[in-house]
């Protein structure tokens, strides 16, 4: 029953969008009626999504999708997240988020009515395309042809609270760019005043903030769930999310220039189209199963071709409109060495080069396999040695960019900055010399610290310190950059200065980690609702009264016959101690311990960046 409701409301929603699209040419109606229909179609899409969720919650195995991906033994939260833990459901989530964005956009005030309507019509077109994709190739409401009373379970690696929220937030970022795309295309068609740039800025900031959160959640999950001790693997799917993120960052910065009357409209439109194109391209790569990863569900060529077609239509349409209706009036840029405008231009160029570099690395295996029928994989070494060096000058520039002036190339207090930089360099050099010196470690630390220091100097020397909302809005760009600086320190330390220790242990053995004695207490096996768990219990710093207990082990999921590794992590503010329980051989357990310095700084930096994103949304 719920499947029928879901399917019908999905189809009705597509129908309404079709009607709205035709309304531009045939039946014209008033603004209120138009908006009413937009909202109705959004609500229907959501109804469809929640019907599917209901089928998951009550374990309705007469729905084929539920049968394939759920199991009645699963805890409620994973039944709910099972809704989007599969291809069909996740595409429905995609569409639902698209309609939520249209819903909220229909409430936007103070913009030209016909502009708003055109934007929403472009959204409707996107809704139709993706809606048809779901109905024809990825219908989550199919009826199960065999009578069963149990499902096949969900990929156990996805049974994790972080992963339950990661896809919706990431999708909110990806799909949020649809509205930026629609705004830019509507802007090209109407070629009206520059009011739309302000609207675009708000929405691109919202999307970017969601995308940041989604990526961070995903990589945090990889950190503690995959049990490899790293948090970024240059996996194709990670790259796919990173591309619109960097392009979106370039877009947000370009939109800043609007404030300095230096709007380079052409470039902004290009980036707006690019961001959404990269999002759709990412959806294509993952959903077609072209790339292997934990994200790709069952591959099906017809789906791949359909979504490739959507990608081609959307991107091709976007760039074609861009080609034919190129924005005309653009103020000449006031480029000086070095003012805010030129810094923003350089930063944009660097970000686009980085995006293209990642794009090349990601699609290279596909090109090679088509041309030479060889399977290759492009991984960390390529990306680390290309993307990072490209970004470094951008980071350097970033540290001073907010204090540069729009009109002149004078920097206030320039002596103060030079002095601070020299002192800091010497300090970091001394510190690096006494610890184990590493070039990348030195560069990363210096960069991160310098960005933070320069931003703090800028805040204290350029503004009167007040504790009110307005002040926080003014210093927001600096705060964002402090977040980046903190994240850079975290990234550098946790990757360059990671320390790995291997042990072969019996129960009851003691060993030394980071100067503290650790007791390998015992191995424990228990039966949980939907898995069996094997845990090694460790007592960290056992000689003290307040020793900390750490559990590391594996889970075995009988339904899908999969084993997942569960790392035990002891979080301290300046490092994580990461325990991995390996296999048992000759009565000894293999235990790997990783010491990841300052890994928490990455998450802290990300939270600060997201905070800044939100503050910037409210700032005009």
């Amino acid at each position: 029953m719920s499947s029928l409701v879901g399917f019908l409301s999905l189809v009705f929603a597509i129908g309404i969008n079709f009607y709205l699209f035709l309304s531009r040419y045939i039946f014209k109606f008033k603004k209120q009626k138009f908006n009413l229909f937009i909202r109705l179609s959004s609500l229907l899409t959501l109804l469809s999504f929640f019907s599917l969720m209901y089928a998951y919650v009550v374990s309705d195995f007469s729905n084929y999708n539920v049968f394939q991906n759920s199991h009645s033994n699963k805890p409620l939260i994973y039944k709910i997240s099972g809704t989007w833990g599969n291809h069909e459901g996740s595409m429905l989530l995609w569409l639902s988020i698209l309609s939520i964005f249209s819903f909220f956009f229909s409430f936007t005030k103070n913009i030209d009515e016909s502009f708003q309507r055109l934007t929403l019509i472009i959204q409707s077109l996107l809704h139709i395309l993706f809606g048809l994709f779901i109905v024809f190739t990825s219908n989550p409401f199919l009826v199960n042809s065999i009578l069963v009373n149990e499902g096949l379970g969900l990929n156990p690696i996805l049974q994790d609270p972080g992963l339950a929220v990661h896809p919706p937030i990431l999708y909110a970022g990806y799909v949020g760019y649809s509205i930026v795309f629609s705004i830019a295309i509507a802007g090209l068609f109407q070629n009206t005043d520059d009011e739309w740039l302000y609207v675009a800025k708000k929405w691109s900031l919202i999307s970017w903030t969601f995308l940041t959160g989604g990526i961070a959640l995903g990589s945090y999950w990889a950190y503690y769930e995959l049990g490899w001790g790293g948090w970024w693997f240059w996996d194709p799917v990670e790259n796919i999310s990173l591309m619109p993120w960097i392009a979106g960052l370039a877009l947000v910065h370009s939109l800043m220039m609007v404030r300095g009357e230096q709007a380079i409209k052409k470039w902004i439109v290009f980036l707006s189209i690019l961001c959404f194109s990269l999002s759709v391209f990412g959806t294509f790569l993952v959903r077609s199963g072209i790339l292997t990863s934990v994200h790709s569900f069952a591959a099906d060529a017809s789906r791949g071709i359909f979504i490739l077609l959507i990608f081609f239509i959307v991107t091709g349409f976007g760039f074609l409109v861009f080609l034919l209706k190129e924005p005309k009036k653009s103020n000449a840029l006031n480029l000086l060495f070095i003012n805010k405008v030129s810094a923003l231009v350089i930063n944009n160029v660097l970000m686009i080069i980085a995006t293209l570099t990642i794009l090349l690395g990601t699609i290279y295996p596909i090109i090679i396999e088509v041309l030479y029928n060889k399977r290759i994989s492009v991984g960390g070494p390529y990306f680390n040695s290309t993307v990072i060096p490209i970004m470094i000058p951008g980071f350097l520039l970033m540290s001073v960019a907010p204090i540069l002036s729009w009109q002149t190339n004078k920097i206030d207090n320039s002596k103060k900055y030079v002095l601070a930089f020299i002192v800091l360099s010497v300090l970091v050099l001394i510190q690096s010399y006494f610890l184990n010196f590493n070039t990348w470690g030195f560069v990363g630390l210096l960069l991160g610290l310098w960005i933070i220091l320069a931003s703090i100097i800028a805040i204290f020397s350029s503004y009167k310190i007040k504790i009110n909302i307005k002040f926080f809005k003014i210093i927001n760009p600096h705060v964002a950059h402090i977040g980046v600086g903190i994240a850079i320190i975290g990234i550098t330390c946790s990757s360059v200065f990671q320390n790995e220790l291997d042990f072969n242990l019996n129960e009851g053995d003691k060993f030394i980690v980071n100067g503290k004695t650790v007791l390998f207490e015992k191995i424990e096996t228990t039966n949980e609702i939907n898995f069996q768990s094997l845990r090694g219990k460790f007592l960290f710093d056992v000689e003290k009264n307040q020793s900390k207990e750490i559990e590391a082990g594996k889970n075995y999921y009988p339904v899908s016959k999969m084993i997942t590794s569960e790392a035990g992590i002891l979080h301290q503010w300046n490092k994580d101690i990461y325990f991995i329980l390996g296999d048992q051989k000759n009565n000894e357990w293999f235990v790997k311990v990783l010491i990841n310095p300052f890994v928490s700084f990455i998450w802290l930096g990300v939270i600060i960046m997201m905070y800044s994103g939100l503050i910037a949304v409210s700032r005009r």
């Binding site: 290009f270 292997t292 699609i363």
Partner: protein, 174 residues
Amino acid sequence: MNRIFILTPLIVLLVICIFSLVYLLSGKDPNKPPSALLNKDVPVFESSSLYNSKDIIKTKDIKNKKTLINFFASWCSPCKIEHPLFFEIRKKYPELYLLGFNHKDPPSDAKKYLEDDGNPYDFVGVDSDGLIALEFGVFGLPETYLINEDGKIIYKFMGPITMDILKNEIEPLL
């Protein structure tokens, strides 16, 4: 100059789409890397019959005949889906030896399953502890292997086989 600059994204788009399309149409599936066992000798195994524990099958018993090995279990719903296809194979290729391995299943359940849905296999071997599956590198049920007369694995399929797979991938090898 400006026009060329603006045309670039369209050209890049076209190139990416063409390559992706060719890739998709070529039917490659990166999720199914060729098995490490492909073109290797079938692993050494020994298993007793589900119906008579004294009846033993060994690796050398399947030498000199083409054999289709299928790992299945009564608790495995996808196995139920592919099950009827084995009767088709049985009918079409009477000389093909069909060997089923019952994976981690209580014998009573397995017998009931084969009673209800029929038994297409020439021999049903018991793999109660999953060790034979381990030797074959079985990832999840069902999995199907085709062994040629020389005792080499020439084909492997993960998941339930379908009519398409039978027609396009297995039959050409028979």
